[in-house]
């Protein structure tokens, strides 16, 4: 995807400069030639100031900036987020927000009147069957719900995975054995069945009996569900990296000077594995967007009246099966929105991975 390698004529130097054992970049700061400029024979007739020190983060950023995929998908993401998070503002101009019901735009069986599910100059993408909310606004609000849950969950998931992975890899012995075994157990857990069964029960327990489900509660339930079921891959990845780091001198030095587990994990190890963590995060977001959508499709997500993409797809698919006029358009729109979200986040995540790890093959 990225064309960093092809465009830079100079061989990369950062990996050879450090005593790396893995293909992971950027363990320690290194000196490299400024990649923005035409490579020169270093030092000849040039002031030494042209040789600048760059952190691996800066290097990665530079690579990312020159990646066309990253630029396009990044711009798309920014555009979608501005549209989604600004939706309440657009609603002021547009005249409807996602909570406004328009039963007068529906026929006697609550199916949108007119063509393509009620497309009109008032409702650019039609209205939702049932209660007649504006589809455009529902999509924008839906993106907001979806992305917010996905990003918060991804942060939590990756943080937990990284800490568990680092501890497991560093401490080793029976702790590592137990954690690895636990990871295996969690990976073989039937996530969907568990989520479908437990989420409603736990929600009711928290509410202390049947009660209205506020948005914050359903969102939190989803975040916790993802937290429980998505940390394992990050943990495994980080554990692998830490295994290769823990015998290194700086770790030994820290240990020799009496640093405790907390210091070594948080101050010595994790800062040196931020690259896989960042990659993990950027690919976790689209995975969680998709997961949130299918949980909502199956009926556990943020409930009515809060807009949700997965629930919208479910409604549209029902309409298509019943051969409701215009339902296919809603299905395309809602499904397409999820597709676009997941695709852009995924491609951007890939670009981030490439930027952080130029040796990976595409």
């Amino acid at each position: 995807m990225s064309d960093v390698d092809k465009s830079s004529a100079t061989p990369h130097t950062e990996d050879t400069s450090g005593p790396q054992t893995s293909d992971m970049p950027g363990v320690e700061p290194v000196l490299v030639a400024d990649m923005d400029e035409e490579p020169t024979t270093a030092g000849v007739g040039k002031p030494a100031s042209e040789i600048v020190g760059r952190s691996p983060m800066q290097l990665a950023w530079l690579r990312l900036k020159r990646d066309r995929t990253a630029k396009v998908t990044g711009a798309l993401i920014v555009l979608m987020l501005v549209a989604a998070y600004g939706a309440p503002l657009w609603a002021l101009v547009y005249g409807y927000d996602a909570y406004d019901q328009n039963p007068d735009k529906l026929d006697g069986s609550a199916i949108p009147l007119g063509v393509l599910g009620g497309v009109s100059s008032e409702h650019w993408l039609g209205v939702v069957p049932g209660n007649g909310q504006d589809v455009l606004m529902t999509l924008l609000y839906g993106i907001r719900t979806s992305v917010s849950i996905a990003i918060v969950s991804a942060i939590v998931v990756v943080a937990i995975g990284a800490v568990i992975g680092a501890v497991s890899g560093y401490v080793g012995g029976w702790v590592d054995a137990v954690i690895s075994w636990f990871i295996d157990v969690m990976l073989s857990f039937p996530f969907l069945i568990f989520a479908l069964a437990i989420v409603p029960i736990v929600t009711n327990l928290i509410l202390g009996g049947p009660g209205a489900r506020p948005l914050w509660l359903s969102s939190t339930m989803l975040i916790v569900t993802f937290m429980v079921f998505f940390w394992m891959n990050t943990a495994r990845l980080v554990r692998g990296q830490v295994l290769s780091l823990r015998e290194r001198e700086f770790v030994e030095a820290a240990r020799a000077s009496g640093a405790g587990l907390g210091h070594i994990v948080f101050k010595q190890l994790l800062p040196n594995v931020w690259a896989p963590i960042l990659v993990s995060f950027s690919l976790m977001v689209p995975a969680l967007v998709a997961s949130e959508a299918y949980l909502a499709f199956l009926g556990i997500g943020v409930g009515e009246p809060h807009p949700d993409l997965g629930r919208l797809v479910s409604l549209a698919v029902g309409g298509v099966k019943a051969q409701q006029v215009g339902a296919w358009f809603l299905m395309m729109l809602s499904g397409g929105t999820i597709l676009l979200l997941v695709l852009t986040f995924n491609m951007f995540g890939d670009a981030v991975r490439d930027a952080l790890n130029p040796k990976s093959h595409k």
Partner: protein, 590 residues
């Protein structure tokens, strides 16, 4: 009759068939024009009790019917119960009473919309011996036979009823009914104190029953003018004592009707074949056009509709009691012409209400305001339109003789605000935790807000719906329930729904507890004035309850649409059971 299952359950959606649907749907415009619209129910006549002449067989022939062939019913699950002492759910009653066993009286529906209670085993709907409704006499017809050719006797009818009252000792040493699921009316009338222990351990015949040759007499301690209806419930099916297999009878009842069970694998399939000993000339109600009926279980409602609509080769003889699934309703009714000859629609007897919890909403003005603020049109719309539910404003539905049409609290937001004195109130609205019910709840939040009523929508587990709302200490203010009368009289509507003795065991979900109302209900129940007079009084009582107490919001009447395979003829909506009338079906080309 209880409509125990919550009619709108969670729907699981499969993605199959989407691509094909896309092709056919194209870019059409929805003009909202749905043809002529759903059918209103015809006003019911008070002349519903038949005569001895009406009770003579054979039944009025179905036009175009021919004999022979096999019809296969596809259903989601097996019949709830087939034992006549336990059979109290609509489709099971249709199979039980329509095909397998006969009762003292039954409903003769000639296919023209008429309905009369007539003698089935008995020669007439019953003789009120003293003219005060306390003693009822039935004489059995001649030539009645079971599936093995033996005679049906009055003793067997008495045994069937007594058996339904059987009790057993539970672990705590209390006597509990062995067959609690069935209709209790006749049993309670015969033994109001619940002293009879049943024929297994006590007297062979229950108190109040006397048998003399082919005559059976019921003696009650208060007037029971609706006995002709009460003995039409499955509990009066005859059972020879030596054929009583107790628990197993539920699986393999001994047949006195036109069909007998040939094969039965629970939750898999049931095969019924002709009972050669059944004589059509003794039966004014049933036909037996088809050689055999097969029931197959395990098909989801949505898939039943899909399969019947497709009418694939080999599926032409399929039928079902399951109404067209709501997800496909608009498509089927929108293309009625395509289903001509295999399509049936009509209002059902199930009326629905939003109960107002009177333990919590104690102020009458508030309950009236809630009624005024209820937008019934929106309710019908969001429930899927008039082919799903018809708007209703009465406590006793139009299928009941004596029906009075009234709308005490028409939709009027200003009136509602006025009654609330300009204040806003908060209400907890319980709904089943499904996508459809969630949308309905969202619509109600929107509508009630217009009158200053803030609705908090509380999703609850659909499987435990009645368990949750039947609790008088529940924490909800508004919740849905549905009811269909056991027989066409207010006496099977008002006592179970609005008498304080029905809290919490019966269906008094608004928990209305007014001694004055209890008294009125009891007076009507034990009135000796005769059916025609009390029928109209029940209708008026409904209006009075709405005016004085406003315990519920009457919302709708269920509407049903059924389709079948193209080779099945004789579709008729049984008024009594409110589903496809199985006795009138025939195979067009056997």
């Amino acid at each position: 009759m209880r409509s125990k299952e919550l009619k709108r359950q969670a729907r699981f959606i499969a993605v199959g068939g989407v691509a094909m649907a896309l092709l056919v749907t194209g870019c059409a415009e929805n003009t909202g024009d749905n043809g002529e619209g759903a059918q209103e129910h015809e006003q019911n006549t008070l002349d519903i009790i038949g005569t001895a002449e009406d009770s003579v067989g054979p039944a009025t022939p179905v036009e175009g019917a021919v004999e022979g062939g096999e019809i296969t019913f596809i259903q989601n699950s097996d019949m709830a119960h087939l034992d006549p002492a336990r059979n109290y759910v609509s489709t099971s009653m249709m199979v039980g009473q329509g095909l397998l066993y006969r009762t003292l009286t039954g409903y003769r529906e000639d296919g023209d919309g008429s309905r009369k209670v007539v003698g089935d085993l008995a020669t007439d709907p019953g003789t009120d011996v003293n003219g005060d409704c306390t003693v009822w006499e039935y004489t059995l017809k001649d030539g009645l036979k079971y599936e093995d050719g033996t005679d049906i006797t009055a003793d067997h009818v008495a045994y069937g009823i007594s058996r339904a009252m059987a009790t057993e000792e539970n672990d705590e040493g209390e006597r509990v009914p062995m067959y609690p699921e069935g209709a209790q009316f006749l049993l309670d009338w015969l033994d109001p104190a619940n002293e009879y222990v049943g024929p297994y351990e006590g007297e062979e015949t229950a108190p109040g029953i006397a048998v003399d040759g082919n005559k059976i007499t019921f003696t009650f301690d208060s007037p029971r003018c609706e006995t002709p209806f009460a003995v039409a419930m499955p509990t009066t099916a005859p059972i020879p004592p030596d054929k009583d297999t107790k628990g197993e009878f539920d699986q393999m009842p001994f047949s006195s009707g036109p069909y007998k069970i040939e094969e039965r694998v629970f939750e898999e399939r049931t095969v019924l074949v002709r009972n050669e000993h059944w004589d059509a000339n003794t039966d004014p109600i049933r036909h037996a056009y088809v050689d055999s009926f097969v029931f197959e279980y395990g098909t989801q409602p949505e898939d039943i509709t899909t399969r019947l609509a497709a009418n694939a080769s080999g599926d032409e003889n399929l039928a079902t009691f399951t109404p067209v699934d709501s997800s496909q309703l608009s498509n089927i009714v929108g293309n009625k012409a395509e289903y001509e000859g295999r399509y049936l629609e009509g209002p059902r007897k199930y009326t629905s209400y939003l109960n107002i919890n009177m333990n919590r909403v104690t102020d009458l003005a508030v309950r009236q305001a809630i009624n005024h603020a209820f937008n019934r049109d929106r309710w019908v719309q969001v429930n899927g339109g008039e082919y799903s539910v018809l708007p209703n404003t009465t406590l006793m539905g139009p299928t009941v003789p004596g029906y009075v049409d009234y709308d005490v609290y028409p939709y009027d937001v200003e009136k509602a605000k006025e009654l609330l004195g300009g204040e806003t109130i908060q209400l907890r609205y319980a709904h089943a935790d499904t996508a459809t019910e969630g949308r309905i709840a969202a619509a109600m939040v929107d509508e009630f807000a217009k009158a200053g009523i803030e609705i908090e929508a509380v999703p609850i587990d659909p499987l435990d719906w009645y368990g949750q709302i039947a609790d008088p200490d529940n924490s909800f203010d508004l919740y849905w329930s549905s009811w269909g009368e056991d027989w066409p009289s207010g006496s099977t509507v008002f006592p179970p729904l609005y008498h304080s003795r029905s809290i919490p065991v019966e269906n008094n979900y608004p928990f209305i507890n007014v001694p004055e109302l209890d008294q009125k209900i009891e007076d009507l129940e034990s009135s000796s004035a005769g059916f025609e007079e009390t029928a109209a009084q029940w209708g008026e009582l409904g209006k009075e309850i709405m005016e004085k107490y406003a315990p519920v919001i009457p919302t709708d009447i269920a509407y049903g649409v059924w389709i079948s395979g193209s080779n099945v003829g004789g579709h008729y909506l049984s008024e009594n059971i409110s589903t496809l009338d199985v006795t009138k079906l025939f195979v067009r080309e056997p």
